[in-house]
Amino acid sequence: MGKLEAGGDTMKITIKDLPIKEYMLPGNASCPGCPASLGLRMLGKALEGKFILVVPACCSTIIQGPFPKTSANFPILNIAFAASASAASGVAAGLEAQGKRDVQVVVWAGDGGTADIGLQALSGAAERGDNIIYICYDNEAYMNTGIQRSGATPYGAWTTTTWTGKKEFKKDVPLIMAAHKIPYVATACISYPLDFIAKVRKAAEMRGTKYIHLLAPCPPGWRFPSDKTIEVGRLAVLTGMWALYEIENGIFKLTGPSIALLDKSKRKPIKEYIKLQGRFARMTDEEIEKLQKYVDEQWEYYRALVEMGKAKTQE
């Protein structure tokens, strides 16, 4: 695969820059092909274990393993569903009050815990600029409770509460977070680990609230075979269903493979992404067309943001 760039042209890392040590230990309780446990593994290597993880109700509550054992080789504060950002603010304040430095405070929350029930606390923390990294691993539904739709579920997706497909579009949490004018907002995808790791490391070097939204294709929830997690994630990016970008101090930049995709002809049709997943099996051609149009419009929005970013950089 060679060298992958992240953060536009601002930061380069290779797999050789990562520690050999594992922080997410094997034998955990995740499903086969689980993107959340992959993400935790990457996070552990990105921060080399020097962090406290705050986890609300989500799949990772189970993945870490039941008491009295744990698969996490880093400390975890499990907390109630709506409370992850505020609990993290408290952890950060507690560490600071005691002069304990060099420890990152990281939230690891699902899309339901972020886009829905946890949004208020997240918005509060971001408005206050509390010194935390908030990572939403987005598997696009309430997977832990058995695939119910969330605000982050995409249009057309079957879930156990949208049997005929979701009628609304995905809530755009990263751009909601960007509207908070926090120092760093980024998107990532489990299929591009070095891009994700570089973004986590960049976030760790900044003070204030940092937000990273990590797309996490879920085999049982999205209805695809468990050996296809990485492939589905790649197609999410290459079709433009998911864009990799970062917004650093208000400047928007596409990153990695998404840089080339502003040009519509370079993007694969979303159908290639959709056809791999059982959750979209009932979508009609009209619905797919509607979703394709939505994606294309979103990219026009990104184009405007890229232009604004360029103009700002030249100032």
């Binding site: 400390p75 504060l77 907390i79 950002a85 609990a87």
Partner: protein, 415 residues
């Protein structure tokens, strides 16, 4: 509120050459000063009437540099308690305050703090729950959290509010306890009413409390010694964790008494009982009260004693742990007990009444429930005099327990 004397130790100079330092403070400011003197490290708070002046005053202390704390101005009470839990999980001393709907909104995290055994201190200004909107005192808000694993104190006056708040940190952080502590004070009657409050020296408080962050709390979050808080627990282990909370609550009884005794050695104000038994030794009828009305009950007992009626008063200082042993002892001579609840459990009766009744069940003594002062309606000394007379009358006639009596209920306006 009854009149208080300055502390004996200050008069006699025991424990140093300190002067009597007294301020005229509202209950809310008494909390704020105690929080400052306790060197709290993290405060997370959200405004709600009638609590707000507590966190306003603390914000002043922090911004003036008088209290070296991180102050998180959260966007809700749910977040306030979550932030306190996060701070406490790192070993920091954390405080918040709330009331009524704020406490209910926070409720999930109140339980999380109790079951997670985070030694947080919270002031709760008791206030009725709507609808209809009411900003005045009632105890249902606090008592809804009776079983949440918190130690729950009710204060009678502003001096006790101050003293309890300082003791609360010592009790919560004691390794035999490690449970959060609620200090409750009645809306407006205490929260916004000013009275003299005697305060110890900062130096004395520093000796009384363990240094914040300096004590070695077990099980704090630290990447060098990674462990998880609160992960999924199967039925194989769950009961043992709950039993340890039950044991900690039982331990708390002794720790509270010890903390109150030590506090007495420092200030002359001893709080070395879970209850205050007032003229109970030979009492025929005992009135049980919690919170600010306990003082009025004691005034009523004085009056009735002058009339030759043997009435005593028990003030319950803690609702959790429940002072079972002390209560049984103090009720020994009583022929009848009356419990005045500023709360109601619909379909059952007064909440405190139920607790007292089950404590005294084997004595077969009548325990009469009185419901009074809901939504902040005054409970006057005269009301307590009437209650005392009624109890004596019931005892003399050998009348058993009646259904709950709603004091001063305006039957004529009820459709």
């Amino acid at each position: 509120m009854r009149k208080r004397m300055p502390s004996q130790s200050n008069k006699n100079g025991i424990g140093g050459v300190n002067m009597v330092q007294s301020e005229v403070l509202t209950g809310n400011y008494a909390v704020a000063y105690a929080v400052k003197m306790s060197r709290v490290q993290v405060v997370a708070a959200y405004p709600i009437t009638p609590q707000t002046t507590i966190v306003e005053k603390i914000a002043q202390f922090v911004e003036a540099g008088e209290l070296n704390a991180k102050y998180i101005r959260v966007e809700s009470e749910h977040s306030a308690m979550a932030a306190c839990i996060g701070a406490a999980a790192t070993g920091a001393r954390a405080f918040t305050a709330t009331a009524s709907h704020g406490l209910l909104y926070m409720s999930e995290m109140v339980w999380w703090a109790g079951m997670g055994r985070y030694p947080i201190v919270m002031a709760v200004v008791t206030r009725a729950i709507g609808p209809p909107w009411s900003i005045w005192t009632e105890h249902n808000d606090v008592l809804a959290h009776r079983d949440s694993g918190w130690i729950i104190f009710f204060a009678e006056d502003n001096q006790e509010v101050f003293d309890l708040t300082i003791q609360a940190f010592r009790i919560a952080e004691d390794e035999k306890v490690l449970q959060p502590v609620m200090v409750t004070l009645d809306a407006f009657i205490l929260s916004h009413t000013a009275s003299p409050v005697y305060m110890p020296d900062q130096r004395e408080v520093d000796e009384y409390l363990p240094p914040p962050g300096g004590r070695k709390l077990p099980y704090i979050l630290d990447p060098l010694n990674p462990l998880t808080h609160g992960n999924l627990t199967y039925p194989d282990h769950f009961m043992e964790l709950r039993y340890q909370i039950a044991r900690a609550m039982e331990n708390a009884k002794q720790v509270i008494v010890e903390a109150g005794r030590k506090y007495g050695e420092m200030t002359g104000r001893y709080y070395d009982h879970l209850i205050e038994a007032y003229k109970c030794n030979d009492a025929k009828a005992v009135i049980i009260a919690v919170g600010s009305s306990a003082g009025d009950a004691k005034d009523a007992a004085d009056y009735l004693r002058n009339q030759g009626l043997e009435v005593g008063v028990i003030k319950l200082r803690t609702i959790r742990p429940f002072p079972v042993e002390e209560l049984r002892e103090a009720c020994k001579s009583a022929k009848i007990i009356g419990v005045v609840d500023r709360d109601y459990s619909y379909g059952y009766g007064g909440i405190v009444h139920g607790e007292v009744k089950s404590t005294l069940a084997d004595t077969k003594k009548p325990v009469q429930s009185f419901i009074a002062g809901l939504g902040g309606r005054d409970i006057t000394v005269k009301d307590f005099i009437n209650i005392g007379r009624r109890l004596i009358e019931m005892a003399d006639k050998g009348v058993g327990e009646q259904p709950p009596i709603w004091v001063n209920l305006k039957q004529e306006v009820i459709p």
